[in-house]
Amino acid sequence: MPIAGEVAIIGSAATRFGVIHDRGYLDLLAEAARGAIADAQLTQDEIEAAWLGTAEPLTAALLGDAGTAVTEALPGFAPRPVTRVSTFCCTGMEAVRAAAMAIAAGEHDYVLAVGAEKMRDVPPRGSLVARTANLTHPTLAKGRTAPGQFALLANRYMHEYDCTVEDLAAVAVKNHANAARNPIAQYSDPLTVEQVLKAPRVAEPLGVLDCTPTTDGAAAVVLTSVDRARASGRRFAVIEGIALAVVDGYYAGFYHDEADYLGFHVTRAAAASAYRQAGITAPRQQLDVIECHDCFTITELVNCEDLGLCERGEGVRLLREGVTSAEGEVPVNLSGGLQACGHPVGATGVRMIKEIADQVLGRADERQVQGARRGLAHTLGGPGVASCVAVIAAP
């Protein structure tokens, strides 16, 4: 049977996101996993398999480079199967997708998908920046950093469309304001446009406050079939559609003729697949709330376009008109997004799934969108080479 409409989210949990010096990778993983299992009103013994999303084990001394991290964090779980998945920033959501496939296939009754990342045992520059600079292709990608990659879009976008650095800053301002209502967010203080523009420069035109921080954190969900969830009488959310798309190459992506540096066709491909599964034909009208991958301020603008909320080039207008604000027609990143929640890479996609599940279950506390029935979570991986889109709805 397909995943779409057949797999239920029955439990979820997330740790605080931030710089967490007093907790290790396994501590975070265990907290999220146990929290999700408890939220599902299950015991660990009832979970039959797990999928672990960790993208960068080398930032945590190789912890998380295999599924054994889960059995280490959850004593007694072994010898049940645990599979580690890694797809850049789509890692967490891909763990959920893989776990959902096992449910859809009928292989297991209850499974766990957990994402965890410990990035701040080293300084920010020693984290992904150094790894990218040192370990990418010796010539083809030398000079590349994650901010630098997305700054290429920002400059092209501002050249092509009516968009300014103030517009980019407004994304950070919006998402930081949203994070004030999210107790797990790394940053919860409000920002002003002026503060964003005066922040130290990272990769022109992006400054520090245009960029997601590097973060420690973990999140987990427990999945079962919709039939089993319904029979149990538990509250649950339904995965109506979930899709991953990738481009034909990592370094090659820089050199593709079709790359217009105004958006990501990989997101458009993933969204098209997820929408087809979920029967969505008018995303702006059919989606009540969205968590999208705002790793940099420019990314949220192009994501809104790539996800079909507006035509290409109109993402700024959507922002300026407040369509994506907390009170708007389609609130985007009510959690604070990666901008303010932080971005523990493997955990982010799982946290997004949890956030949207909480919204459609009506348990998003101060962030709750009244009457939310269907939402979307989206991650974008690497330099725009992978994208995962999930549509989650109330049953």
Partner: protein, 425 residues
């Protein structure tokens, strides 16, 4: 039979930046340039695609980036030369620029077709007081070949154990002998012996203008003036360009016949240069390049490499030499796919080397640098290219740009060469 050859084409690479010295200026390369990149650019500038591919490449430099392991093959790869190529490197003294021409004449005389000679110099330390950075490339063919610019005839050689300038392993700057010894008995004396040998050997013939290149520019200048030569006008604009300097002086003097005398320590070489009609135009063009450039206080030093330990792999570098050094993609349905997709067979085709900027960023967090500008270019065939920009330059969207070979880093103890974007000048 006297081995001689025809000069068919020539190119010079002289960095725009000129740093003031006690005697004038010197050409100053950026930190990402070395003797290989300078020589490769000179070979590329010969526009070899319009000429018969050479059968041999002779590379002369006293500042090879690899002390052992070879550099000529790098020049050949970057310049896109065929792999069926005889290469040889001459790295002993600046005289080797002229020795390379003698060797080329021998190869051509033996039926070797066309031969490329390139010579370059890249200062390694401030101790090289008189030196500048630059490169010269020559395409040489059989005497009488169509389109010839000058007939080149090696005349005399000299070898004796005498050192006025040398390096021991690990020396950044050359050691120099006593100045009076060098002036009286060193390379200048050897140059004088070569001049006298020529005069003694060809009585009655109209004497060509003497051109002297030796270890001491001052002593060489005195000898050249004493012999009736024009004096080294290039030195005050470029500095001494090592092995490239005798060749640069040869090109500058193509307006009339000359006898080129190059000596380093006890090693000497002389070459008779008999220009054709096209010689004067080439000399004027090279003179313009020598005179060009802009005065700068200093070129930026190589940025500190803190936290930068990049990955490198010898097998990878070999497998991908086509894409990295030659900038080759695979041709499919009229389109060049770059980098070549794994397993895709098809003819290899070099990317265009010019394009315009699609987008850019200046990245402050890339380790080991004070910031690096990255650009995406749309090349002339419509394909994309992503790379760094030359240090000190800033490119804007829609600006025309060219690709130049530069060294990126030395990860794993291997020098990684790739292409950077630069303003079109």
């Amino acid at each position: 039979m006297t081995a001689r050859c025809e000069l068919l084409a020539a190119a010079t690479i002289l960095p725009d930046d000129r740093v003031r010295t006690r005697g004038g200026h010197r050409c100053a390369a950026q930190y990402d340039e070395d003797a290989v990149t300078l020589a490769a650019q000179a070979v590329i500038a010969l526009r070899q695609d319009r000429l018969e591919p050479p059968s041999a490449l002779i590379f002369a430099t006293v500042t090879p980036p690899y002390e052992e392991g070879g550099c000529a093959q790098l020049v050949a790869e970057i310049a896109g030369l065929p792999s069926q190529l005889f290469t040889v490197e001459l790295t002993a003294t600046p005289r080797d620029g002229l020795a390379a021409v003698r060797l080329a004449c021998g190869l051509i005389c033996a039926g070797g077709g066309h031969v490329l000679v390139c010579a370059s110099h890249r200062r390694r330390a401030d101790g090289e007081r008189e030196a500048g950075d630059g490169a010269v490339a020559l395409l040489l063919g059989p005497p009488g070949a169509e389109g010839g610019i000058a007939l080149l005839t090696p005349v005399h050689s000299h070898a004796e154990e005498l050192r006025d300038r040398w390096r021991l392993p690990g020396d950044l700057a050359p050691r120099e002998g006593d100045a009076s010894f060098t002036d009286e008995l060193g390379s200048t004396r050897v140059a004088r012996l070569l001049a006298e040998a020529r005069q003694a050997g060809e009585p009655g013939e109209e004497a060509p203008q003497p051109i002297v290149v030796a270890s001491s520019s001052r002593a060489a200048g005195r000898l050249e003036r004493a012999l009736g030569g024009p004096g080294d006008q290039a030195f005050v604009r470029t500095g001494l360009l090592g092995c490239a300097h005798p060749l640069l002086r040869m090109l500058l003097c193509l307006g009339e016949p000359s006898l080129l005398l190059a000596a380093s320590g006890g090693l000497g070489e002389s070459l008779l240069v008999e220009p054709e009609a096209a010689g004067a135009a080439l000399a004027a063009e090279v003179s313009g390049r020598v005179a060009a450039g802009r005065e700068v206080d200093a070129v930026p030093p190589s940025p500190a490499a803190l936290g930068f330990d990049p990955y490198a792999s010898g097998p990878r570098a070999w497998r991908e030499r086509g894409q990295d050094l030659r900038l080759e993609g695979v041709l499919r349905d009229g389109e060049i796919l770059y980098p070549p997709p794994a397993g895709l067979q098809g003819p290899r085709q070099p990317l265009p080397r010019r394009g315009r900027v699609i987008t850019h960023t200046f990245d402050y967090v890339y380790p080991g640098a004070d910031g690096v500008q990255m650009v995406v270019l749309e090349l002339e065939d419509g394909s994309r290219f992503y790379c760094q920009v030359l240090p000190g330059q800033r490119l804007q969207i829609d600006e025309e740009a060219q690709l130049l070979p530069r060294r990126l880093h030395e990860g794993g103890g291997m020098i990684q060469y790739f292409w950077k974007a630069a303003q079109c000048r």
